[in-house]
Every structure is written in structure tokens, then in C-alpha cells.
Amino acid sequence: MINVMLPVPLRRLAGIDEAAVALEVEAPITQRRVLDALEDRYPMLIGTTRDRSSKRRRAYVRFFACGEDFSDADPDDALPTAVANGDEPYLIVGALSGG
């Protein structure tokens, strides 16, 4: 299972109580597959982390895992093994923007 941590606004939008959701994702584990699985489970999140059509990441959304920034990584590259094993979460983060 892949553990995905969501920012509070998206958790509220999707009606998720926990900080992380566990998703069944078919290998190889890539960002695209994780986000596809997330949107399959929670269709109200379609368009909130990436553009509906182009799948381009929204400008104020960042993707982190294992202490690394994957925001600009190829969405079809494999995520770290620790994420694929479920040992480390995949983090969707709202960019810091404000005071």
C-alpha cells in the first residue's frame, strides 16, 4: 500500500479524517500512478493537484518523498523503494505562500 499525505484543504474536500490515505497502486510505483489512484478513489480531487487535461502539476502544489522534492520530476519515474513499500509516505503539499 502507498501512503499519501494530503494537505488539510484537500482532506476536508475529500472527507478524509486521517492525515494519510492508503492506496493500492500497481507497480511500478510512479507519481502518475499514485495520483491516478488517488483521483480514482476521490474523484472530487480531480484537478486540485494537477491540471485535469494536461496533468501538469498545479503551480502551488509540491510533491515530496523521503526528504526529496519530486515536484519537477518526471511523473513516470519510479518513486523511492521506501514509498513503494509503504515505509515512507508520498506527500502532497500546498506551497508556502503568504505571510
Partner: protein
């Protein structure tokens, strides 16, 4: 008297205000706390059917629908895809930029079908749903009118913010875009005609150009839909021929800059505006928050001040943040960027702050409940 429900969209959520007597109000919310609720409105055909445009710079556009008057909400489709050739419009520096969807500014439910709603979006285009928001399709004739390369964004973006449905001619739709101007369709949105003759805009190389005018808001009374009132970037205007020609009615206003304009529910020649000092000073002249009312269809305006702050007030009132109810006497409501919602239950003669401490108000709509 019927109960009154106000739907208030703010920078940090939506609020539902209700009153049985227009004196004591209850406040429910925030709904969608932390998100911008650009517009929240109800169907004239079913007051319990509400729609809300929920937006965020971080997470984009979300569309919400309620079937129980705002007690519960569910997301509907947020797919607003331009049809056909996307084309380009003018950018602030005069260069051309491709159309790109950003957010829904205004929702206009059909007069007789709760599942049918028009949506005005940024970058400017008109969309429609006929299935209660589960799918949206563009009416591309507007964007493809041919004048698109001359449309440009106002300070808030290139938004389609006003949609007027003609209650006497079901195929007539009038819309306004900042900064393109007014367009009218006589065939339910298939084809469009610019309706800006008589407007004068100094920011244009040609101030009387067919398009490129920063229209802030339109209003009409259902009993005389050929009469339109306009708050433009500068100038308050009137048309007596459904937008074919316009003439100025700013008259004795202390400033003819402003955003909202509204028409009295029962008096089609009674109009309300909120003058703002200037395009770079978005606050009331002299620090006095004054609604101005004309009972003559313009030109002669009376300041309405009782109950409104008359010193050190530097808030703005945005274009979608004023509404009138259908009660007798007519109620008038507006919200400010300082987070106050003011209401009048006597046609504007006096006001009370019915919600004094909300986030910055983006929109105000009013419903009469049975």
C-alpha cells in the same frame, strides 16, 4: 413576510444568513472554510438548489451543489474545457496570450430549471450545464466572436462576470466581460454582438472601440428588460434599447467609479450604486461609505448613509456583492472587502451591519423562502 436567506461568498468560505423579519439574523458557516467562494447562488425555480464556485490559488476550481438549501453540499464537475480553437487575447503589456481557464466568477441559474445554470469564467467564456453541474459545455460563439485578440484582462483578470437572462425573450442573453465589454445573443448563445456603442474608455487607444471596455457590472429589472444599467470602470451608464446604445447617467455622484449596481425589486427606475474614489484608490470618497440611490433611472442620486460608517471607512464593495430582495419594502444588501455585510429593510433608507466580522466579501445573493 417570507424568510430571507443571504448567500455570502468570502475570501475564506461561504456563509448563509437567514432572517424571518430582516431585523435579527442567524449566521451559518463558514462552509468550505479557507477557500475562496467566488459566488454562491440559488435557483429561482427551486430555492433549495444552490451552486457555489469554490476556488483556490493552490488547488484550483471546485464546484459545489446543495439540494437542501445549504445544509449539505456535494462536488459536481469542475471540467471547464474550451471548445475548438482556443485562440489568444491581449495581455496587460499588449502581447497576445492563449486563453487559459482560471476560475468561475459568476453562476446564473436558469429562471425555470434548477438543473440549468450558466457559468461565467476567467479567461472569459460562457459555459452551461443542463444536468445540475455534472457536466459543463462552452457556448463557444462568444469567445470565437472574432474580437477576442482585442479583449484584455482588468486588474482582477479577464473575467465574464455578468449574465442577464431576459425573462420576456428566452433566447436573449446579455453578458459582460472585464475588459471586453457587453455582448448580446438573440439565439440562446450561439452568436453574439458587441453592445458597447456609447461607451468611452480612456485606457483604449480608441476610446470608443467596439470592444475593450472595462464593464464592471450590469443590472436590469425583469419588467423592462430592454433597460440596462451599467457600472463601468468609470461612468455609470444606461441603455434603453437592450444594450444597442448607452448614455451616461452618472449625474451628481461624488465619483462614477465603482463596482456593483442593482435595481430595486419593484421600481424599475430605482437604481443603487456604491461610488468608489478611483481606479487606484478602491475605497469610498472621503472615507464615507455611502450607497447612492436614484429614483429617476439615473442622473439624480441621493446618498444613503444612515447606519453606514461616515468616517475613516476604506473598504471596497465588489461587483457581485450587492443584491435586492423581493419583499415589500424592498431589502438591499451588500458586503465589503472589510468583511461587513450590511442590510437595509427599507429600500436603503437605513442600514444595519447584519454580519460585521466576516472575511472579505466577494459576493452576496438573496433568496426569498416560502
Amino acid at each position: 413576510m417570507s424568510a430571507v436567506r443571504l448567500l455570502v461568498g468570502t475570501k475564506k468560505g461561504g456563509f448563509v444568513l437567514t432572517s424571518a423579519n430582516r431585523q435579527k439574523w442567524s449566521i451559518d458557516g463558514p462552509h468550505f472554510g479557507g477557500w475562496e467562494i467566488f459566488h454562491m447562488t440559488g435557483s429561482p425555480a427551486d430555492p433549495n438548489r444552490l451552486y457555489a464556485s469554490q476556488a483556490s490559488d493552490w488547488f484550483g476550481q471546485v464546484m459545489q451543489r446543495s439540494d437542501d438549501g445549504g445544509k449539505t453540499w456535494a462536488t459536481v464537475s469542475n471540467a471547464f474545457d474550451y471548445q475548438g480553437e482556443v485562440g489568444t487575447h491581449q495581455w496587460y503589456d499588449g502581447s497576445q496570450k492563449p486563453w487559459e481557464f482560471k476560475k468561475v466568477w459568476h453562476l446564473e441559474p436558469s429562471l425555470d430549471d434548477p438543473d440549468t445554470v450558466y457559468a461565467g469564467v476567467e479567461d472569459a467564456a460562457l459555459f452551461k450545464t443542463t444536468d445540475g453541474g455534472h457536466s459543463w459545455h462552452e457556448l463557444p460563439g462568444l469567445r470565437e466572436h472574432g474580437s477576442g485578440p482585442d479583449w484584455l484582462p482588468g486588474a482582477g483578470g479577464m473575467c465574464l462576470h455578468t449574465i442577464l437572462m431576459d425573462p420576456q425573450r428566452s433566447d436573449r442573453i446579455t453578458i459582460a466581460i472585464s475588459a471586453a465589454g457587453v455582448f448580446r445573443s438573440e439565439d440562446a448563445g450561439k452568436t453574439w454582438t458587441p453592445s458597447n456603442k456609447g461607451l468611452f474608455s480612456e485606457h483604449n487607444p480608441n476610446p470608443t472601440a467596439e470592444v475593450g471596455h472595462c464593464v464592471h457590472r450590469l443590472a436590469q429589472h425583469p419588467s423592462q428588460p430592454d433597460v440596462l444599467f451599467m457600472q463601468k470602470h468609470w461612468d455609470v451608464m444606461r441603455s434603453d434599447d437592450a444594450g444597442a446604445t448607452w448614455h451616461e447617467i452618472s449625474g451628481n455622484l461624488p465619483s462614477d467609479f465603482g463596482f456593483p449596481i442593482a435595481v430595486h425589486a419593484h421600481e424599475p427606475e430605482t437604481v443603487y450604486v456604491v461610488p468608489i474614489k478611483s481606479d487606484s484608490e478602491h475605497y469610498p470618497p472621503d472615507g464615507k461609505l455611502r450607497v447612492y440611490r436614484s429614483r429617476e433611472g439615473g442622473n439624480e442620486w441621493q446618498a444613503l448613509t444612515r447606519g453606514l460608517p461616515q468616517e475613516h471607512c476604506y473598504v471596497n464593495v465588489l461587483r457581485d456583492a450587492m443584491a435586492v430582495d423581493q419583499a415589500d419594502p424592498c431589502g438591499v444588501y451588500f458586503g465589503t472587502t472589510g468583511g461587513q455585510v450590511y442590510g437595509s429593510n427599507d429600500e436603503g433608507d437605513s442600514w444595519q451591519a447584519i454580519a460585521p466580522h466576516l472575511p472579505a466579501v466577494l459576493s452576496v445573493e438573496v433568496q426569498m423562502l416560502a
